[in-house]
Subunit: 142 residues, 2 copies
DNA sequence: TTAAATAGTTGATTTAGGCAACTATTTTTA
DNA sequence: TAAAAATAGTTGCCTAAATCAACTATTTAA
């Protein structure tokens, strides 16, 4: 690979890291940190998920995760149910309140995306999305 | 904007955040944090830069930056030289050791990019870069 | 049946980063 | 030109995010 190509990739990475950082500021205004929202999303996507699964998919420390879940439980956003087959494992579910809280952040994020991208023409939006999908498809292959 | 489009963008953002996170692990193995490397890069790109300029371009707190620079000075990676025309301002330069340290991380990053992207064919690499540039060009407009 | 592995918790600590007050200058303004 | 405002950088204080290691309880493998 040519140095020039590497530079272009690194340049895009720096650029897009800024974009993502900007978007993440939404969470900073909310009551939940970025990681907390990601955890909520995991439980929302897959009700009954185990802490261990979240740990693996989000790659976060189990002690840290345990504390986040404890906070959620205290706020009555999740319920924990011990597995019958493996009493070490605990099924996690969002309560109605937990769902509500998650969806609020989720909606705010949608709005934010919409706001930012509405600055571009529909054709440009379409191009952006196509290029994003292309990149994702290639990178996902390996 | 349609919900489906918003979802695609968010999906890409999540996906690419992981890619960036993966790449950033290089820094985590090095002795320097991501922000510290960014600061080094700024001084490397523009020798004699002021702390204030770095603050503006990287958007980091001046107290935090001051501490980072102090660390670099202590490790003899940079030199500080008071400006003659404005004695509040301090010119920053990398020492030979500072350059060496920076280039080590920089080289490791290049190698890492090269390693990851060499899993793809040249055509795919070209497509990736083209799509990255396209996205960057559109987003930069506004 | 004992050893190793696994799920989760807890305590102690480190690090990143923000905020505000401060010093020392320089610039503006009245 | 003297006082006020702005600017560059430092320092102290603080909080939230995250890591690490030790621990309990349980399950699986040797």
């Amino acid at each position: 690979m040519k140095q020039e190509q590497i530079d272009e990739i690194r340049d895009f990475n720096r650029f897009y890291a800024k974009v993502i950082g900007l978007l993440d500021k939404t969470f900073l205004n909310s009551e939940y940190s970025l990681t907390e929202v990601r955890v909520l999303l995991e439980i929302y996507k897959q009700s009954g998920i185990l802490a261990n699964d979240i740990m693996n998919s989000l790659q976060i420390d189990k002690g840290y995760l345990s504390r986040i879940l404890k906070k959620f439980e205290k706020k009555q956003m999740i319920t924990k149910k011990q597995s019958d087959t493996d009493r070490r494992a605990i099924y996690l579910e969002l309560t109605e309140f937990g769902k509500k809280e998650f969806l609020e952040v989720d909606t705010a994020t949608n709005l934010q995306i919409d706001t930012i991208f509405s600055h571009f023409s529909e054709a440009e939006q379409q191009t952006l999305i196509e290029n994003m999908n292309k990149i994702k498809n290639i990178l996902q292959k390996k």
